[in-house]
Symmetry: C6
Subunit: 289 residues, 6 copies
């Protein structure tokens, strides 16, 4: 069940190294130092970890953290079986046993207290006490712990404890510069580069509103979505509204501002329906459901 | 048990396309992009998803989200059986296995943390880690995720995280324009079109009070209810009170305002009982129960 | 176990129709529209539903809602049996299967999130997804959902969501007018009509204090209690204190006010014990217990 | 297991009727009306219920309510047995089956929501739906529900809902007048009546401080404790401190005030040890423990 | 398993009676009155109870109360066994069955609601209803209930309810006077009496800071710790810092004040290392761990 | 399973005694006094305990405390087995049985109430009541309890109770002085001593910002991380950013300040990329993930 093979990345994920991040991660891996990847939503953190796992040829076990996650969800639990109780390793334990990279995605979502179970794996002991099983598991020599973290979410209530932070080396990620990002979109979706450029310009406009009405800018992921809708024949204006604006805000003024930015970028001709009332092609009047 | 057939929509649901929503959804489906349907209560979001599932010939698995819903409710759990524990897929897992459209209705009701489990299904990996089972499920090629979302409920406490939002394309729904809505009511219930028009006028009056004493306007669904009561011989005034006003407010002033709007619309003759005391036909004096 | 017979009302409950409520409910039933019964404590809401179930010859399944109630309490759960787990339908599921009227009493007490499970039963689908059983139950043609709701309890914390409200038609109940209420009491308890009138007068005095020191007025149910104590030979003054005043308030001033109202109504002769100290016949000095 | 005999009161409890409370309870019992006993801590509420159960020859099932108490604790639950699950009636269900008086002591401690399960037993239906068992239990003809309630604890957070209160008749209890209370103490403990009088005087002093530094006055129960210590040869001053003052307050000023009241009442001779430092005979200096 | 012998105190615990506490407890025991022992941390409350249990030759069952403690933890629960479920008495039930003294240590830590289960054991009934087992246990004639309580912890959130307090007699404990306390330390640890005197002086200095930067003074227990370190050859200054100051405060100013008090008491010669930087012998510079 | 051997430290951990801490711990051990180790994150508290366990030749059982940890997690629980339930000792019970040093790491993370279970092990009784098992375990003569505690985390919500604190002797740890710390780093990682000195200087700069924008200074552990990255060929500037700055802060100004401190210390040549935009070698632009 904890089969190493299923956790191996079989195909090289598309990832374009931008700075020294590959070399820096490699050095941390060589020392088996825990790594924290910081950065905004959808900027490629998970993709990078997958790429490094592929590059290093190590299995990757990803856990999407959430507040309901208990230490047992990470470490393992007893299940009732025909012959009594049977222990089932959790993903962290499996990773420590088989020497996988264990990637705890959005670690701040986990309760601070759940995070504590990773501590003994991140200091010189590299052990995981399975208290409920009475076993002190020594981590496989190739085990490495990686966590991701979006500083934008950091709040008084949800932040990592210093005693957790100080067990990691850290890499800061951010959106790529405009040309690189357009290149990524064009490569990933086969969109016309000029169109990709305009999508990135649109993202730039929205990213400037971060903190001024928007919690986050438009992620590279959403730009890829827009490009994929364009590829399916959706008009640029509708694709941008559907993929770039409507997912990220419910505020009428912000939406209006961003719609105008779209119109300006894609030189939309005047529409039969007035924008103010029902000109929004992605706005659908109701019927009983 | 997870029989695909039972999730297929056997009859075409009544749905009248209004703008480009069908084409836009079709493009998102072609790319298997996740879709978020936004809009007020009872405007036809669920009906639209059902219609699209029917149109695409795909099974539809609907989950009414709520705060008690745990990740296990979506993903699955072990049940105790005669021969020990047995795994039971949750609705999300079933949908990912059989290639259904999984529709998470009123996603904001779910705890933000439960929502996290959908993340790996919404990025390029399209996988669902069944941690408790030790299985990494790759979604069926036809699996698609759809969520609905009522922006009117959005509060500081209940909102989707940006890291969730930025995994979806979005379609904004709203009530139909008056003629269309009246047409929908007439078609769906067989009511006289003129009467349907007056019901829609009544809804318009109430929708203007949204934010001024009413949390939400009168939905298309309630208009259909009123029409169905009329069809059963209930007088217009009583039907409107029972279906349109009394369900949505307990505020005496608002009720009075809306009752007058009903009276004006349906030109009610003076009644034997004075309105102020007991003229409300849907108001019933008490007896011990 | 889910035997239809046990849910049938065998004898006609005493219920005196007052306005059009029977006809209006009948129309909602004919259309199988969900019904919400609003009104203050003890005004006959539950009695009315029971009467309608009797009149329609349908089984009635009543659930007293409370905040601890989980979706499983409504829908069902697995029980461990000699041969493994066995599914047990909850009351809502039973009602949907056998075509009963399912009456959710005091729905606002339920957690808003538990309420969500009724949604698919209240729109055109009329289905109940039993996620844990992997079954999509289509409701019996005679299934109907009825909820009760006391607007006086409505608070910021406890109110139905608009998306729930807008799935119901509504009937407003209130206390009966004085003559009717006295008639109900006399008929139900065999009390002298003149005495019943005076009890209703007493209730009127207390209902005027609602919002001025009393959370609720005296219900018809308590008037029936007083009448039954009178029938057992308890003096009017003691019966009124014990049944009408002492249950509803601990406030000394309010109690004093209401005691005086009782004295005035029943022309009590001066008592051997002074009222201020120990004249309260329902006040009992202590001894160690 | 639910053996009626074990719940019968075998010996007449000592209870001295003071006003009409026995007759009033009898009338409520004749009508099987639910009864609420109100009054301060330790004034004899539980003793009275026990006395009435003895007098009526009915079994008495007492439940000490608490916030952790779930509906299942009252109603019953499934237990796992050799042959699978077995239903175990809770105390409320047992009482309803065997026709006992069910006494819910300190009902306000229970969560408001747990209290809801008693509702169907308190209206004309007199039924208890055992949802988890799929049984609708009709109460035995002799079943009666009694609750106790200390108005002094009433707070915004902990109060009975009106919809619960309005299902009960109520009897107000208070401490007995001085002579009666002294008589009770003398009868119950065999103390010298003059000494009992002085204990009651002491209680009077403390009861005047209620709301002025004391949450509650000294109960009759504590007076009985003091008398029992006196009977064992403890000096009056030490007995009063140990039984009357030290249990009810930690406030130095209040204790000092009450100590002086004791000294005054029992004309204590000057003591070898000064009161301010270590003259308190119930105050014990420390040693490592 | 509930073997009486294991709960007997085999050796006389060292306890030096100081006032009348032994006689007062004896009188309460003779009457089987419940006893509440009040006093600050580490002043000998538990030791006293142990001593009395030894003296009376009764088994002693101690429960360290905590907020997670449920009524089941006190009363008992069903365990699953080879042949089905088996009831296991909790410590309170065991004590009531075998006639032990049941000592609930730090009762205020328990949830107020858990405390309710002791009520029927503390009034004239002396019963413990085992609701889940359907048994009404009558307490053994020698059963007695004792609770401890630190008034210094009393807060709005954590205090005993009056209805609980008024079921107990109470004994106030405090630190012993200086000579007695020094004698206790010397006797218990074999320390030189003069040194013991100086430790007690140090405690006096700290106890004066209670409420002025310290939550609690230095307990007799910590003085015993210091004496035991001295016995092992630790220098007075280091022993006092390690046992008396560093455990009770993290505040730099308070620590500095108390360090000076130590220096003054033990006439410390000037040290090679300056106090301000690293002169603290119990302060250890870091290295990676 | 609770095999003593697996808890023995087989190799001497690297630990450089700095003051008297080894002698002081030894004295506490000789008396089996409980020890509390206080100090900031990553200063060597856990390493010291491991070293002492090795030195004393005792098994060491470490528990990383967290808020989800229940008393059962420490003490033990029943597991369901083929032949019924089976008791499994928790780590605290195992340690008390086999005579291990039980090290509760970051005790303040545990719920105050869970901490209560250690009380009977820390007074003269040295027992652990296994209430659920009905066993009163007497601790092995070599059992000792050690807890760690970071005063910097102390808050109103999370602090040890005085009744817990006053059961421990305490040792204060802090970062080593500069030369010692550089020596530790050089010895542990084989880094050039001059480079180690500069890393320590960098830490000094950051530690001065504690309380002025930083919650904690840079720990010795992070300095070791930086040295290990340097050893792998990472440039000093990148290594310091990745290991010392980026893990501990998300604040742009603080990061900028610390980056300048790095630049100053390592005399970085002007870079091709401007620092303000993308000169951060550990900052990676995004791509869709």
């Amino acid at each position: 069940m904890s089969d190493t093979a299923q956790y191996l990345i079989r195909q090289e994920p598309f990832y374009q190294p931008l700075h020294e991040e590959v070399a820096l991660y490699q050095a941390a891996w060589d020392e088996r130092l825990p790594v924290m990847i910081k950065g905004p939503t959808g900027c490629g953190k998970s993709r990078f970890v997958e790429y490094m796992a592929w590059r290093l040829g190590r299995p990757l076990i990803t856990v999407a953290c959430n507040e309901d996650m208990t230490a047992s969800d990470l470490v393992g639990r007893y299940l009732l079986d025909a012959g009594g109780t049977r222990w089932l390793d959790g993903p962290l334990t499996t990773a420590a046993r088989i020497g996988a990279i264990c990637y705890l995605d959005e670690i701040v979502e986990a309760r601070q207290d759940t995070t504590v179970v990773i501590h003994p794996l991140t200091d010189h002991r590299r052990v995981l006490p399975l208290d409920k099983k009475g076993e002190l598991l020594e981590a496989h020599a190739d085990f490495q712990l990686v966590i991701s973290y979006n500083p934008g979410y950091q709040s008084l209530m949800k932040d990592l404890k210093q005693s957790t932070k100080q067990r990691f080396t850290a890499l800061h990620f951010d959106y790529a510069d405009a040309d690189t990002e357009a290149g990524i979109i064009a490569t990933e979706t086969g969109t016309d580069p000029a169109l990709a450029q305009r999508l990135v310009q649109m993202a730039g406009a929205a990213r400037n509103l971060k903190g001024h009405g928007l919690d986050e800018g438009i992620s590279t992921r959403l730009l890829v979505y827009a490009a994929r809708l364009l590829k399916r024949g959706v008009a640029p204006r509708a694709a941008c509204r559907m993929a770039l604006v409507d997912p990220i805000t419910d505020d009428k003024d912000i939406r209006s501002t961003l719609y105008h930015a779209i119109d300006a970028l894609f030189e939309v001709q005047s529409d039969a329906r007035p924008v103010a009332r029902s000109g929004d092609p992605s706005s659908v009047p109701s019927q009983a459901g």
